[in-house]
């Protein structure tokens, strides 16, 4: 299968690979997927003043599209407010990376990872978790 140039670029030069201190109350961690399904994404955000995301890191076990989706997500998250981050839709990722239909689930997983990281941050800071609107199988 042919990958788009953007997927290959993110795959070869992934942005923001790494780990933030998951115990910090400024850090939210989302771990989604399962090894036996072939994708696991861990996405972390660090939130500063005024709910602005100051840093984002990821590590992904998965195919090129999964790696590219999470790499792109970290790029987009930096500098956004939490509310802006919540508005990121998986179809934005599909469009940006030109993912084929069989790889749409990678973008869904990235969106789930973002929401899950935000929820982790919210719960740590005494806020309610936001219900995830999408459920995927």
């Amino acid at each position: 299968m042919a990958y788009s140039e953007k997927v290959i670029d993110h795959y070869n030069n992934p942005r923001n690979v790494g780990t933030l201190n998951k115990d910090s109350k400024f850090v939210g961690t989302g771990l989604v997927g399962a090894p036996e399904c072939g994708d696991v994404m861990r996405l972390q955000i660090e939130v500063g003043e005024d709910n602005v995301i100051t840093d984002a890191k990821f590590k992904t076990f998965g195919c090129g599209s999964a790696i590219a989706s999470s790499s792109l997500a970290t790029e987009w998250l930096k500098g956004k407010t939490i509310d802006e981050a919540l508005a990121i839709d998986n179809m934005d990722i599909v469009e940006e990376l030109a993912l084929p239909p069989v790889k749409i689930h990678c973008s869904v997983l990235a969106e789930d990872a973002i929401k899950s990281a935000i929820n982790d941050y919210r719960v740590k800071n005494g806020l309610e978790a936001i219900a995830l609107e999408k459920s995927h199988h």
Binding site: G33, C37, T60, G62, V102
Partner: protein, 403 residues
């Protein structure tokens, strides 16, 4: 774009130029129908077919009359299994095979189940070999056929065919083997091994695609199969259809070359394979799949834990290899062969099959080692699972959000 290094010789092999040279005249000046008895065009074509039949027979230690040319191993598997089932149905309806067989055997058996066959699918031990005691226990008076492959296409393990044949014969059943990966790579002798029917193909041994053969024993016992293709009664009535003369000549030439070069080639390839395998298996958390004593000389199948197979293939785009997972389809299907060895889904997904061949050089193996190491290391740096493993977290204790 630079051509990747070809290490997928279990999928298909390149045509040896010497084979092509032998085939070419049969496309042009020697174009006759081998069944034409009345003129020189037919005789010349028939000479080509006779040469091929002799070479095929020499390679596997049988007589010329025991070779039925087909379009490939899949057709030969179908002809053998369906043909035996129909011919011997008075005697019984039970067939024994194994879960690690090629789809050409498994799906043929599934088809026959709809037509009244009872099929036993033997499991394999974690080294990929069947358990002979289990085979013995599965034999019944109704068992007419035992079909177990010679060498496995994914992991290269060689089944104990001689012992399997003896068990089948003791209980009055025929023994058939799909030897597509073995013929031309290791010595295969149908009499020494006790084989009654054997399927194989030209394109796995540097011959052309679209041609193969079925060996059908003529003595002790005389085996008969019901034709699956009706027509002019070619191939002693077992496979009608005008002979693919250029292809058959190619198969013959491929067999001749394998017979002459197999011994030294097996030594060369197993040395290269061992170099590849021993270097890569020194990497942390990498595992060699399948029995390493009883196996083909040119195959290595290695799992690299905590990296995902498709991502790995992408990082290894300089190599043409196969992955143990078919995740380009909508659903993720890890290899059923690796799963039958007891590998978990994630380890099956993370496996790579290297298939070496006649044109593989040591330089290419050195490059393959380097590319693989780089790719695995790159992906592990990206892998949250690798990080957790390194921190000593037990991944099986984590509640994963299934998706």
């Amino acid at each position: 774009m630079k051509q990747p290094i070809y290490l997928d010789n279990n999928a298909t092999t390149p045509l040896d130029p010497r084979v092509l040279e032998a085939m070419l005249p049969y496309f042009t000046e020697k174009f006759g129908n081998a069944a034409s008895r009345n003129h020189a065009f037919g005789w010349v074509a028939e000479e080509g077919v006779d040469y091929a039949r002799e070479e095929v027979a020499k390679l596997i230690g049988c007589t010329e009359k025991e070779i039925i040319f087909t379009s490939g191993a899949t057709e030969a598997d179908n002809l053998a299994i369906k043909g035996v089932f129909e011919m011997y149905k008075e005697k019984g309806n039970h067939i024994i095979t194994a879960v690690t067989e090629h789809k050409a055997v498994l799906d043929t058996c599934k088809h026959l189940e709809k037509n009244g066959a009872r099929v036993t699918y033997l499991g394999v031990k974690e080294d990929g070999l069947i358990d002979l005691a289990e085979l013995e226990a599965a034999m019944t008076p109704e068992t007419i056929l035992v079909s177990i492959m010679y060498g496995n296409n994914e992991i290269g393990v060689i089944q104990p065919v001689k012992e399997i044949a003896a068990i089948a014969h003791k209980h009055g059943a025929l023994f058939m083997t799909d030897a597509t990966q073995a013929v031309g790579k290791i010595p295969v002798d149908v009499n020494a091994d006790g084989i009654d029917l054997m399927a194989f193909s030209a394109h796995k041994m540097y011959g052309p695609k679209g041609v193969g053969a079925l060996y059908v024993r003529r003595k002790n016992p005389r085996v008969k199969v019901t034709a699956q293709m009706d027509g002019g009664g070619h191939e002693r009535g077992m496979r009608s259809g005008t002979l693919n003369v250029p292809g058959i000549v190619g198969l013959g030439k491929a067999c001749e070359l394998c017979r002459l070069e197999m011994e030294s080639e097996a030594i060369r390839l197993s040395a290269l394979r061992d170099k590849l395998e021993s270097t890569l298996s020194q990497m942390e958390e990498s595992y060699v799949n399948g029995n390493t004593q009883h196996r083909l000389p040119h195959v290595a199948n290695i799992s690299f834990k905590y990296v995902e197979g498709e991502g790995l293939m992408m990082a290894m785009s300089d190599l043409a290899v196969s992955s143990g997972s078919a995740c380009t389809s909508a659903s993720l299907e890890p290899s059923y062969v690796l799963k039958s060895l007891g590998l978990s889904d994630d380890l099956a997904h993370s496996s790579i099959r290297y298939g070496l061949g006649r044109f593989t050089t040591e330089e290419e193996i050195d490059q393959a080692i380097e590319v693989t190491q780089k790719a695995v290391n790159h992906l592990r740096e990206l892998s949250p699972l690798w990080e957790m493993f390194k921190e000593g977290i037990d991944l099986s204790k984590i509640e994963w959000a299934e998706h």
